[in-house]
């Protein structure tokens, strides 16, 4: 187990190293100069040069890469070109929105998907199954930004149950914060829930066809007992993979939703930073996201072991 974890850790580090080179390379070829973006159309050449020097943009690319990576290793992500604040500080601030939002959406989607998937699997082929599966097909097909637009129209503008967007902050209590994240979380959770419910259902159906389910029934377990005691836990393995993928998607992929609800999250930070050519912010956030995905996958792998003893003893 430990060896397994260590081996994974090693390949993980390697992946991160490769990712950092790729990120740096891609971002550095982006046309656009942060200095001239900041100083606008009337800037003079000497002013631009002065600003570039101030931003540390006048050294070679290789040197910049190592400064960047070296800094990250000790937790220093550098200083934003445009905001002039430490990037780590900015990321930390944004994480207070993005992380709860991702978790909220994930919780919602799991809460919807599990019962729906189990219900459909238990009623395979019956009208209940067909209805749930039809609904999930629709859920997958709806673009989430469109859904978000509709949510705002109905619940914020017409019914005025929720704010149309923005983030109330956590200072006024957890509820205020969660309340302002509810619509975005729903918009994000819907397609995810649809996917998860489908995975849950098909994983369960696979398990239901396994011999040990028949064994369980032969012991005298009813259909439902067998499903809950022997089915659900085995079905968790593929479901966990998807949950892991979804979490990383939610952390990074909510750019558009953050845009629709003008939430000060990570996604919008990158978006703004890309248009402002605040390269260091883009690089660091992308790196962080890649790191998060890789870590989440690592954790999911470890979680497998908790679910599946066969993996635990794999030396």
């Amino acid at each position: 187990m430990l060896r397994y974890a260590l081996k994974r850790l090693l390949s993980l580090t390697l992946s991160l190293a490769v990712a950092s080179v790729v990120i740096f390379a891609v971002i550095e070829v982006a046309p656009g100069d942060p200095a001239s973006f900041m100083l606008g159309v009337n800037a003079q050449a000497d002013t631009l040069a002065a600003l570039r020097a101030e931003l540390g943009l006048d050294v070679s690319k290789v040197e910049r890469y190592f400064n960047w990576v070296g800094g990250m290793l000790v937790g220093d992500f550098g200083t934003s070109y445009t905001y002039r604040t430490p990037v780590s500080q900015m990321i930390a601030d944004r994480l207070w929105v993005s992380l709860p939002l991702a978790l909220y959406a994930l919780t919602l989607s799991t809460l919807i998907a599990f019962p729906a998937g189990i219900y459909a699997a238990a009623r395979r082929g019956k009208p209940g199954d067909v209805a749930v599966m039809g609904a999930t097909q629709l859920g997958i097909a709806v673009p989430n930004f469109w859904f978000a637009m509709m949510l705002v129209l109905v619940f914020a503008i017409n019914l005025r149950w929720f704010n149309a967007g923005g983030f109330a902050g956590w200072e006024d209590g957890v509820w205020t914060g969660l309340h302002s994240l509810t619509l975005p979380a729903i918009a994000l959770a819907l397609p995810q829930a649809a996917i998860l419910a489908r995975v849950m259902r098909s994983a369960l159906l696979d398990i239901l066809a396994e011999d040990f389910m028949r064994t369980a029934r032969a012991k005298g377990l009813s259909r439902r007992q067998a499903l809950w005691r022997h089915g659900v836990r085995n079905a968790l393995i593929p479901v966990l993979t998807i949950i892991g993928l979804q979490f990383s998607f939610l952390l990074a992929g909510s750019i558009i939703i953050e845009q629709v609800f003008y939430l000060p999250g990570l996604g919008r930070l990158v978006f703004q930073a890309i248009s402002a050519r605040d390269l260091i912010v883009v690089e660091s956030v992308v790196m962080l996201l890649v790191f998060a995905v890789i870590m989440v996958n690592f954790l999911v792998d470890l979680a497998y072991a908790a679910v599946d003893p066969r993996l635990r003893s794999r030396t």
């Binding site: 046309p31 656009g32 100069d33 942060p34 001239s36 973006f37 900041m38 100083l39 606008g40 159309v41 009337n42 800037a43 003079q44 000497d46 002013t47 002065a50 600003l51 020097a53 101030e54 445009t82 905001y83 002039r84 604040t85 900015m90 601030d93 944004r94 929105v97 637009m149 705002v152 129209l153 914020a156 503008i157 005025r160 704010n163 149309a164 967007g165 923005g166 983030f167 902050g169 845009q259 629709v260 609800f261 003008y262 939430l263 000060p264 999250g265 919008r268 930070l269 703004q272 890309i274 248009s275 402002a276 050519r277 605040d278």
Partner: protein, 469 residues
């Protein structure tokens, strides 16, 4: 009610108006946190700011400013002549990062006469100097606070910086020690909503009280019809033009540029892209300026004439070019319409949507473009036509001479005449396609008073705002 939430589209990158071009900085801090020696009023006039009064020498090169007494910075230090000298020297210094360094290019020296008197010597007389000092880039800063000015601005204005939730909002509080009249508002929050849909939703859901420059003109009729809101339509300093690369073939031919001008239906663009908001212009000058002359007839919509001109220039079948469009909707939507109109006369304009950073790099700096649509929002910026290296690359010795004369002229009537001549010159040279003056579209709750209707500069002057009880 003494607090207000004001929404704006863009978030300032930082809060130092003297080292960035971003208008969002000025919107938040101009006259609220920072003040200059002179300042703009809502109607565009320049009035005394931190300078109570001034004297100009006979030859127009020495300005002696008398500063207000008892002005203190938010950190408690007094504002005196040393601070003025520091601020101006900082803007003109070798390593200055001032985005409008050209404004100060004429300054020869700044001297402290006594704590409340400063003498500025210019190299040449400059009729615009007081106007230039009113810009946000010329505000007076405190040397003690310069280190952290970007995140913790310390000025002399009626409001102090309180809090910044990055990506979301900035909060300002009333400055009890302000030298002038106390404003009605106690706190003001600036919220950043870039997405036009979100802007509409936020306004409709009454999440915000004011939207400074509402990005979606199509929604204004709804606000007007709704008694909860008021709509303020004013004008800005933004001349929206179809910039043309004057050095690039075939635009180096005046016939082609003239054809271009006649191929464009301004009213259709204003209706289609701006839903009717905006004033047609025929030259690079703001219609609300007294010196403006209406030259729209010079480039009236006439596709047949355009075709004829093209044929005369040797392009009977038209030609292909590029149309670079930056993000604002006036450009993106306007561009779609212009491309369709140009297609009518045979010009195939390939639309290339770019972000600002890219626009600055490839269009503005690299000059790799055929056509582009931009709103030039700097006030009184006809002078850019005297710069042959400016991105549209207009080179006319006549015009340059005209500007030189203008700069050394202080007589208002003569200036008006010269400005008129300049307007006419660029219009008849068809340097660019002149479209419309960008409207300022403000939306506010019905009870809000004292908002600027026009935007002589990017500013949201909080001092005049109050709630109608």
């Amino acid at each position: 009610k003494s607090d207000i939430i004001i929404a704006m589209q863009l978030e300032p990158p930082h809060l130092d108006p003297t080292s960035a071009a971003a208008q969002a900085i000025d919107s938040v801090v101009y006259t609220n946190i920072f003040e200059g020696l002179t300042r703009f009023m809502g109607d565009g006039s320049v009035v005394p700011g931190l300078a109570e009064s001034w004297e100009i020498s006979e030859d127009g090169t020495v300005y002696t400013f008398k500063l207000r007494d008892g002005v203190i910075f938010h950190d408690g230090t007094t504002m005196d002549a040393e601070d003025v000298k520091f601020s101006l020297d900082r803007a003109t210094a070798e390593d200055s990062t001032n985005a409008q360094k050209a404004l100060f290019a004429g300054i020869e020296s700044v001297e402290v006469v006594d704590p409340l008197t400063v003498q500025v010597t210019l190299k040449d007389p400059n009729g615009n100097f007081l106007f230039n000092l009113a810009w946000g880039d010329a505000v007076i800063v405190a040397p003690e606070s310069i280190e952290n000015i970007k995140t913790n601005p310390v000025g002399t204005g009626a409001f102090t910086f309180a809090d910044w939730v990055q990506g979301d909002s900035i909060t300002l509080n009333r400055n009890p020690d302000y030298w002038g009249d106390q404003p009605a508002l106690e706190t003001a929050t600036f919220k950043f909503i870039s997405d036009p849909t979100a802007a509409f939703a936020a306004m409709m859901a009454e999440d915000v009280d004011v939207f400074d420059n509402f990005p979606a003109p199509e929604n204004l009729p709804q606000f007007e019809a709704d008694p909860r809101f008021q709509v303020l339509v004013g004008s800005t300093e933004g001349e929206t033009i179809l910039s043309t690369n004057n050095k690039q073939k075939p635009f180096d031919d005046i016939l082609v540029r003239q054809a271009l001008a006649h191929a464009i239906d301004r009213q259709a663009i204003i209706d289609g892209a701006m839903f009717g908001y905006g004033t047609p212009i025929g030259t690079h000058f703001a219609p609300h300026n007294p010196a403006y002359i209406d030259l729209t007839g010079n480039s009236a919509y006439d596709p047949e004439k355009a075709k004829a001109l093209l044929a005369e220039a040797g392009y009977p079948d038209g030609f292909a070019t590029t149309l670079h469009l930056p993000p604002p909707s006036y450009a993106r939507r306007g561009g779609e319409i212009i491309a369709a109109q140009l297609a009518e006369v045979g010009i195939k304009a390939e639309i290339i949507n770019v972000e600002w950073a890219q626009w600055l790099e490839s269009v503005f700096k690299g000059k790799e473009f055929g056509l582009t649509i931009v709103s030039h929002t700097e006030p009184m910026d006809i002078g850019i036509y005297a710069r042959p290296d400016y991105y549209f690359q207009y080179e006319s010795t006549d015009f340059q001479a005209l500007m030189d004369t203008l700069n050394s002229t202080t007589d208002p009537d003569e200036r008006t005449r010269l400005l008129g001549e300049a307007q006419r010159l660029i219009a008849t040279d068809y340097v660019n396609g002149y479209l419309f003056q960008l409207a300022k579209l403000g939306v506010a709750k019905a009870g809000v008073q004292g908002l600027w209707e026009n935007a002589p500069t990017a500013a949201i002057d909080l001092t005049a705002i109050s709630w109608d009880e």
